[in-house]
Every structure is written in C-alpha cells, then in structure tokens.
C-alpha cells in the first residue's frame, strides 16, 4: 500500500522527519527529503541504497497544501501500525499544520483533512487535482471545529462515492483529543 499526506504550504520537511524520529524512532536516513527525480538519480548512483520508507517532497504540488509526504507499508510498520489518518494527526499536531489525505472514495476532489487539534473530516478541493496538482480547499462536507469560516455544503448522494456505501465519519483519531461535555463542537457527525 502506498499513501500520500499533503501538509499545508510552508510546513518544514525536516520538522516532519524529526517528528517521526522523535515519536516513532523512524530512522532519519530512511526518510528522503527531495524530489522524485533526485531520489531516482541517487538510487541509480548507489545501487545498494535501500528504498526509503518515506519521501518528503516527491512530486511537485502547489496551492494551500503543497508539502507532500509519501510512504508505504514499511512506514506504517515503523509507526506501530497506526492508520494513515492517525499518523497524519500525530504529524499535524507536532507541526501545527493541517494536512490532506485520500478519503478512500471514488470522487477525486474529496479528501480527508486533519487539523492540529486532532480532528479530521472530509473536504472538497477547488479543482480536480488528478489533472493539475493544485490543492486548494473549496468547502467542507461538515463543519470544521477549528475553522468555522470554511463554508459547509451538504452534498447529496454521498453513499455512492464509497466502495462499501459507508460515508466516513468526521471525528478524532485519539480519544484524548475529543472535547468533553456539552461544549463539544458540532463538527462531529
């Protein structure tokens, strides 16, 4: 399995690498910072070099979210089998940056967004990023607790967007992040 988490523009690549080293003891040498082309040249020059667990940078991205972290199964093993959304949440809290990841559905503009308060929910991007890799928010599919200014649109017929017909729920990857009592935000579905 390969996955990609895209953090907000300006997120420090070294801060992400350091966060993975501090929280999960992911060896820094297993995280490559640079473009895919640079990585390819390096791999060609050094035939004995193992493929890194994660690549920060990779393919060019632009827009509000442009700092890409690509990982695969080995990284998931190294972080103790966390889900991708939980890993993104940890890194978002560490860096203070919001991040996007795939929502598991067929609609190519729909992503899951995680915010530094530990919340995640689904958002729609302004353009089809599968043609032009520009990641700008358009609207959310439910209120975003940490940013009520993001417009919310209730799309019809969302069950058809997902292979199993189950619409992913917004919420918190870690129980300790959930607001307590009646002051809980309306963002949870």
């Amino acid at each position: 399995m390969i996955f990609e988490i895209i953090f907000e523009r300006g997120t420090s690549a070294t801060a992400l690498r350091d966060a993975m080293a501090e929280r999960f003891a992911v060896p820094s040498e297993s995280v490559f910072i640079g473009t895919t082309d640079e990585l390819e040249r390096l791999l060609l020059d050094r035939k004995d070099m193992p493929y890194p667990m994660a690549v920060i940078g990779g393919e060019p991205r632009s827009g509000e979210f442009s700092c890409s972290l690509t990982g695969h199964d080995q990284l998931i093993e190294a972080v103790g089998g966390l889900s991708v959304v939980a890993l993104a949440t940890v890194l978002s809290k560490s860096t203070g940056a919001r991040a996007l990841l795939g929502d598991g559905g067929y609609v190519s503009e729909c992503f899951t967004m995680v915010t530094p308060d530990g919340w995640h929910g689904r958002v729609m991007l302004a353009d089809d990023v599968l043609d032009e890799p520009v990641f700008n928010l358009d609207y959310a599919l439910q209120p975003v607790p940490s940013d009520p200014s993001i417009p919310v649109v209730e799309e019809a017929h969302q069950k058809g967007w997902y292979p199993d017909g189950e619409v992913p729920e917004a919420g918190y990857a870690f129980p300790e992040d959930e607001p307590e009592g009646p002051s809980a935000p309306d963002g949870r579905e």
């Binding site: 399995m1 390969i2 996955f3 990609e4 895919t36 990585l39 390819e40 791999l43 060609l44 493929y51 393919e59 695969h72 199964d73 080995q74 990841l101 795939g102 929502d103 598991g104 559905g105 067929y106 609609v107 190519s108 503009e109 729909c110 729609m124 089809d128 990023v129 599968l130 043609d131 032009e132 890799p133 609207y139 649109v153 799309e155 019809a156 017929h157 969302q158 069950k159 058809g160 967007w161 292979p163 017909g165």
Partner: protein, 304 residues
C-alpha cells in the same frame, strides 16, 4: 387521461421493459456459463500439457546426460535443440495460462455485475408492481394533478432519477485506461474503463433519463455499469464505480501501469525507480502488463 392513469400506463411499459431486461440477463448468464465451461476446459488442458512438458523436459535432461556420457556429440546437440524447444513451449504455456486466468477474472466480474443487475431488476419490478397497485387504488379526484397523494407517492418511486440528473457532467478522462499515466495523485482507488467502453455514451444515457437510479446505494445503473455522482452549484460529475469493462486498480497496479506506459510496454526497460519501488509487487507488474496490452486496442468498439 388523468396523471394517475397516465402514470399507470407508463409503469406498465416500465414493467414490460423490466421483463425484457430480465430475459436478456438470463440469456447473458447462460452464455457466460458456456464461456466459463470452455475456460475451465482450457485451463485443464493447459495443466495437462504443462505436466507433459515437464515430463518431457526431465526425459530430455536424462537423455542429454546419457548422450554426453557416451560422447554422442551430434545426438547431444539434437537433444539440446529439443530442450530449447521445450523451454520455448513452456514459456508459451505460461503466457497462455496468464491469458486464461485474465479471461476467467473478467468473466467473474461480468457475472457479478449480472447478478447485481438481476437484483436491481427484481427490486425495480417489485417497486413497479407496488406503484401500480397503490396508484390504482387512489381516488381520481384532485383534477389534472391526480391528487396530492399521487404526487407524493410518485416522488417516492425507487427508480425515479434525482431531479438534477440532466446536468451531470461526463466522467473524467483519467478513468480511461490509456490516460492513466497523466494522473497526478495515486492515493485513491481508481476505476478505469477498458478501451471498448464508451463512458460519454453512458453519461448521455443518464442525462436523458435512460438509467436506473438505486436509491439505496445512491448510484446510477446503465449499460451494465454503476456510476456515482457529485453535484454542487452546477459543478457536476459522474464517477464510474463498477460493472462491465470497469476495472479497479490498486495503488501498486496503478504505479506499475504507469511504469509500463513510460517504458512503452517493454518490461526490460521499466524506469529504474519503479523497479525499486517496494510498494509495487510482482503480481502488480503481471496485471499491469495485461492492462498495457489492452490499452493498445482501438479507442472504442474493440471488445477483446
């Protein structure tokens, strides 16, 4: 004729269409059964020939040892030649087995789709019967509208398309198998259409009201395929989901297919970074090789 009587008449026509569809599904199922039988036979035949080839290879190896031991050089050369032919035959058998497995996989997919279609037809038939029954029992008072009860009930009909279906845009070109290399984000399951599938034609059929709408799964059903839809402020799009000629690609298969396309189909020339990418398994390359061959057919109408 009142709206209610007109609706009953239209529903009877729909019921007749459903009956016709059911007959076609039944014929298609029988046809698939026959193909499945042929594939099973081919598979068994390949297995038998594989066993014979392996036995022949063993025999030739023993013969080669014997002729070398006896210094029969010309015979040894002939045996070596025969071994090479057996080796070539084995390679052809492997290729044939891959084709048979691919065919079996596609037939399985079509059979599942037929099963789903049959279920949808049954549901629609039940809904139509219920609609006719309930409409027939409604009082014909209420003027040309047929009464508010009739209007309310008509709005609940299972096969009624959502009001916005006429504005739905065409599926994105990334869902075409040969466009796959242009996509910029791979961390999503992607459903791609084989070259003989006309996605735009399906979209036109949906816009013109010829599709069935499944209220439970919230998908359109047309020409043996299912589509999800997104619709907001006039920016609308259809997404192929499953069905005849639609193939789900995993991330590994997707990246392997990109590598095959960049290499022009030559496995020996795959880009180095794709070869070293641990997220692509050996099976991904095999499936990508089959899919790459399918991209070389005509854009439309070239059903394999």
């Amino acid at each position: 004729m009142s709206v209610v009587e007109d609706s009953i008449s239209q529903l009877r026509a729909v019921r007749d269409s459903i009956d016709g569809g059911r007959t076609q599904v039944s014929s298609a199922s029988e046809e698939l059964e026959r193909h499945q039988g042929a594939i099973d036979q081919a598979s068994r035949a390949i297995e038998e020939v594989s066993n014979s080839t392996a036995t022949a290879a063993d025999g030739l190896e023993q013969l080669a040892s014997a002729t070398r031991a006896l210094n029969y050089d010309s015979t040894a050369a002939s045996v070596e030649n025969a071994k090479e032919r057996v080796s070539n035959a084995t390679a052809h058998l492997l290729a044939a087995r891959q084709h048979v497995e691919q065919a079996a996989s596609e037939i399985g997919l079509v059979r599942r789709t037929l099963g789903e279609t049959s279920g949808t037809l049954d549901q629609s038939d039940t809904a139509v019967e219920e609609a006719i029954s309930r409409l027939s029992s409604l009082p014909l008072s209420g003027g040309a509208s047929g009464g508010s009860g009739a209007r309310e009930f008509l709005s609940e009909l299972r096969f009624k398309l959502p009001r916005n279906h006429m504005r739905l845009g065409n599926p994105h070109s990334r869902h075409r198998l040969r466009k796959v290399a242009k996509s910029k984000y791979v961390d999503k399951e992607n459903t791609v259409a084989l070259p003989y599938i006309d996605l735009v034609k399906d979209a036109e059929a949906i816009r013109s009201g010829k599709a069935l709408w499944n209220k439970k799964t919230e998908r359109y059903h047309v020409n043996g395929r299912q589509y999800a839809a997104k619709d907001k402020d006039g920016k609308t799009r259809l997404y192929p989901v499953a069905g005849d000629g639609l193939i789900p690609l995993t991330s590994g298969e997707y990246k392997a297919l990109q590598g095959m396309m960049l290499a022009g189909g030559d496995r020996a020339k795959r880009p180095e970074h794709f070869l070293r990418n641990l997220s692509i398994g050996g099976g991904d390359w095999d499936r990508a090789a089959v899919l790459y061959e399918l991209t070389r057919g005509d854009e439309e109408g070239d059903r394999p």
